[in-house]
């Protein structure tokens, strides 16, 4: 995120925010994919108050002037509430003939899109999709088009509750939770803090444009992204054997990627275009799976292709976590079942890719073959190849090598990287002898080593000592707070791994020295500077974000939207893990009253840094 001082301009007239009027429910997806959504009339929802507005994102989208100050004014606030503070008029309202004042009804309808969701009893996606959100529309300003959708805009018929109970619900019905169509403010702010940190650190994600608060912690959370389609949007017509709808969605997706400049050189012929599509999706999901593992991000990928966007961006932060250590045995307890684990995400991603192969075959031959027929498809080998390469790339990046050195190692020294992967993975995967335990929202067998700590400190210590660390020193650095006495007992295999780790590490460093003709110390120094940023001691975890959001919501007096924006900006700056980015110093000004709150954030991140 770029932090710039904005010139103060006097924007107080609603005409200055006319651009918001383009966001009115209309969306090109509707004409392109007529069978893939349910349209709802909507009305203004009274009682809303703006809790947060993302000035930076709005500027990036072109919705506000690039010189707009990071301050609200009545005209802007009203415009945001008018545009996004809506509630759909749903089947329940219509069946019960509930009437709403005409002047409160929005001129256009808003769509809830249909997509596959595993929590629905119907596994073909006949009943599933946006259960509590609608798409507000799109915003086009060269070079990008953005999709906007809002969560908490009322109960649609695509929610699991309607499918399971076979009835329509009144929006806000307190007898059910997820099916009531409402969202909560803590969800919106958690998504905000998490997604902005990810965005800065080049992890693709949905973003939060605004949060509108209603009574009892209810909110509308407005999300924005360049293309909000999920794999599940395609999997639904696929499962239903609906070739026409499937082709519509695929073509729509390709077109948007092309228009946004995300895909270049898209072939013109139908067959070649679909092949190109498959190639891109293999790449996206293979790299995504490697990144999720290496960043310790758990986002509950599953066969339905929900919880992730087509371009690999993270969406629906309700189930997203970032672990401090590689807690690869963690599973979320979703009452009826446990979630996948972080390591199983790769298989799920591969399964999604297999389904893309099935889609392309279906589109090409107009006959749907069984998914099983694609279990040996070449796309899966390609997936593995890209995955393995990305894992290697991520590892040499995390070690702290400069870009050119990473490229050299990947090209010329894959065997040396593999030699380092083995002991690295040993320590990363090592888990406590205590075994599986119940945690707040699931089960976990704790990881016991923090490889980020050793990657941060090892180059400095090698530089200083000029020799390998004693095993006791190595273990002192790498062991986490989760380690037990029993885990620390004598272990000759582990001792061998300590030696292998350092030897393989040194071999890689020496290869770079040899190639670049640089002095060993110079290379180690460069690595230690980069590694201290990449493997920063304090990195957010899911638990820390939850706790931070609690603090924001419990702060009194309540921070204003602009104050939350500044807190978020400063937090994101603090969470920069990119050694090639130099976060600007100033001019974010956190008010004195919020400084304690911000300092609290830092303490929370530190306290939860090894957790879930």
């Amino acid at each position: 995120m770029t932090i710039t001082k904005k010139k103060k301009t006097n924007l107080t007239n609603s005409n200055d925010y006319k651009s918001f009027d383009k966001i009115n429910g209309r969306h090109p997806f509707k004409s392109a994919c007529p069978k893939s959504f349910v349209d709802y009339p909507a009305r203004l929802r009274p009682g809303g108050k703006l809790a947060f507005f993302n000035f930076g994102l709005a500027r990036e989208m072109g919705m506000i002037d690039k010189n707009h100050p990071d301050e609200l004014n009545p005209a802007l606030e009203n415009k945001i509430l008018e545009t996004f503070g809506i509630l759909i008029i749903n089947e329940y309202d219509e069946m019960n003939k509930i009437e709403f004042p005409k002047d409160q009804i929005k001129p256009y309808k808003y769509m809830a899109t249909r997509y596959l969701q595993l929590q629905h009893p119907n596994k073909k996606g006949l009943t599933s999709g946006d259960g509590r959100s609608v798409w507000n529309g799109f915003y086009k300003k060269r070079p990008k088009t953005w999709d906007l959708s809002s969560s908490g805009t009322g109960a649609t018929k695509l929610s699991p509750a309607t499918a399971i109970q076979n009835k329509f619900f009144k929006s806000g019905d307190e007898t059910i939770s997820y099916g009531c169509g409402y969202s909560e403010i803590d969800e919106g702010l958690s998504t905000l803090f998490f997604s902005e940190v990810f965005q800065q650190n080049k992890i693709a994600t949905e973003r939060v444009l605004a949060v509108i608060e209603y009574s009892k912690g209810i909110s509308i959370n407005v999300r924005a992204h360049n293309n909000l389609l999920r794999p599940s949007h395609m999997f639904r017509p696929l499962k239903q054997d609906d070739l026409e709808s499937l082709e519509n969605v695929v073509e729509y997706y390709i077109q948007r990627q092309k228009e946004n400049g995300d895909w270049k050189g898209v072939p013109k012929t139908r067959k070649a275009r679909f092949e190109y599509f498959l190639k891109k999706q293999i790449e996206v999901f293979a790299k995504l799976s490697a990144d999720l593992e290496d960043h310790y991000i758990f986002c509950w990928l599953d066969w339905d292709g929900d919880n992730i966007l087509m371009d690999g961006s993270i969406i629906d932060y309700g189930s997203v976590r970032q672990f401090g250590l590689f807690h690869h045995e963690y599973r979320y307890d979703d009452v009826q079942r446990y979630s996948t684990s972080i390591l199983e995400q790769k298989q799920k991603a591969k399964y999604i890719v297999q389904t893309f192969a099935q889609i392309v075959d279906f589109l090409s031959h107009k006959k749907r073959r069984s998914l099983h027929d694609f279990s040996s498809h070449e796309c899966l080998n390609k997936f593995d190849e890209i995955f393995e390469q990305k894992k290697k790339k991520n590892l040499v990046y995390k070690m702290g090598f400069e870009k050119e050195d990473q490229e050299f190692l990947l090209k010329e020294c894959p065997i040396l990287i593999e030699a380092f992967q083995k002991p690295f993975s040993y320590f990363e995967m090592a888990k406590s002898k205590k075994g599986l335990e119940q945690v707040a929202d699931g089960i976990n067998c704790s990881a016991i080593y923090c490889v980020r700590d050793i990657l941060r400190e090892l180059p400095q210590l090698l530089l200083s000592r000029g020799e390998f660390l004693e095993k006791s020193d190595f273990l002192e650095i790498i062991q986490s707070d989760y380690i037990t006495q029993e885990d620390q007992g004598p272990n000759s295999y582990r001792d061998g791994m300590i030696r292998s780790f350092q030897q393989a590490y040194q071999d890689l460093v020496e290869s770079v020295c040899c190639h670049t003709k640089k002095d060993l110390n110079k290379v180690l120094l460069e690595i230690s500077m980069r590694s201290s940023v990449i493997n920063k001691y304090d990195r957010v975890t899911g638990d820390s974000i939850t706790t931070i959001v609690d603090q924001v919501l419990n702060a009194r007096p309540k921070p204003k939207p602009e104050e939350i924006y500044r807190l978020m900006q400063e937090f994101v700056r603090y969470q920069n893990l990119d050694p090639d980015v130099r976060p600007e110093k100033g001019p974010i000004v956190i008010k004195q009253k919020n400084k304690k709150l911000f300092q609290g954030f830092l303490k929370i991140v530190r306290e939860y840094r090894e957790g879930l």
Binding site: L461, L463, S464, Y537, K596
Partner: protein, 221 residues
């Protein structure tokens, strides 16, 4: 005792002081430990710090933030360096964490055993008997957000230090007023200026002003 107190500034501004610190270490390529005043942004400051010494071809640096838990291995290594540098920032915050992690006596011992201790701005103030100069002038002072009441510093020198000094009426007014109640001399250094202490001797580099008993005295030694 070998100390270098930097008045502030960055990069080339402090080249002469950097050279003095290396000379005090008595080695062509000494090892340095950089202790930032706060870990927030500390990695960036560390990178800049290393960059400052690039022209001296030094390569051995340790980054040692102290406002977070740290392991004994890194701490021991940090104190084995020839030079320890205390970075600039909020003096109260820095002191709070040095105390919290029991590093005050460790730093004193480091100096006692012949190590070179250098400090920039807040880092330099910390070397003095008290850190009161961090609290003024009112228009540009550190906020005592940690609510520290014990303002005693490392007490390595018998003077106080005021960094980022600018020769102006409003600075002088506050410094003169403070020097009236201060029992030891108060040296004020501009960015790029500083003091080099070796045993009982010390010299100033760059623009240094002495405030003592209500008097402002240009100082060059």
């Amino acid at each position: 005792m070998k100390l270098v107190l930097y008045g502030g500034g960055a990069g080339e501004d402090n080249h002469e002081l950097d050279a003095a610190a290396i000379k005090l270490a008595g080695k062509a390529y000494p090892q340095m430990t950089y202790i930032p005043s706060a870990s927030f942004g500390g990695e960036i400051d560390f990178k800049d710090f290393v960059g400052n010494f690039a022209s001296f071809e030094m390569t051995k640096f340790i980054y040692f933030p102290v406002d977070m838990p740290f392991d004994k291995t890194l701490a021991d290594e940090a104190f084995k360096s020839d030079i320890i540098h205390l970075g600039g920032g909020n003096t109260y915050y820095f002191l709070y964490y040095l105390r919290k992690h029991k590093l005050i006596s460790r730093l004193r011992n480091f100096v006692k055993e012949g190590g070179v201790l250098t400090g920039l701005s807040a880092g330099a103030i910390l070397m003095t008997p008290v850190i009161e100069t961090a609290g003024f002038p009112s228009f540009d002072c550190d906020k005592n957000e940690e609510n520290i009441t014990n303002l005693r510093g490392l007490n390595l020198v018998k003077f106080e230090f005021f960094p980022h000094y600018r020769s102006s009426h409003r600075y002088d007014k506050e410094l003169i007023r403070y020097s009236k109640r201060c029992n030891v001399p108060l040296f004020a250094c501009s960015d790029g200026a500083g003091l080099v202490v070796e045993g009982d001797c010390f010299k100033s580099i760059g623009k240094t002003v002495l405030f003592s008993k209500g008097q402002k005295i240009p100082f060059s030694f």
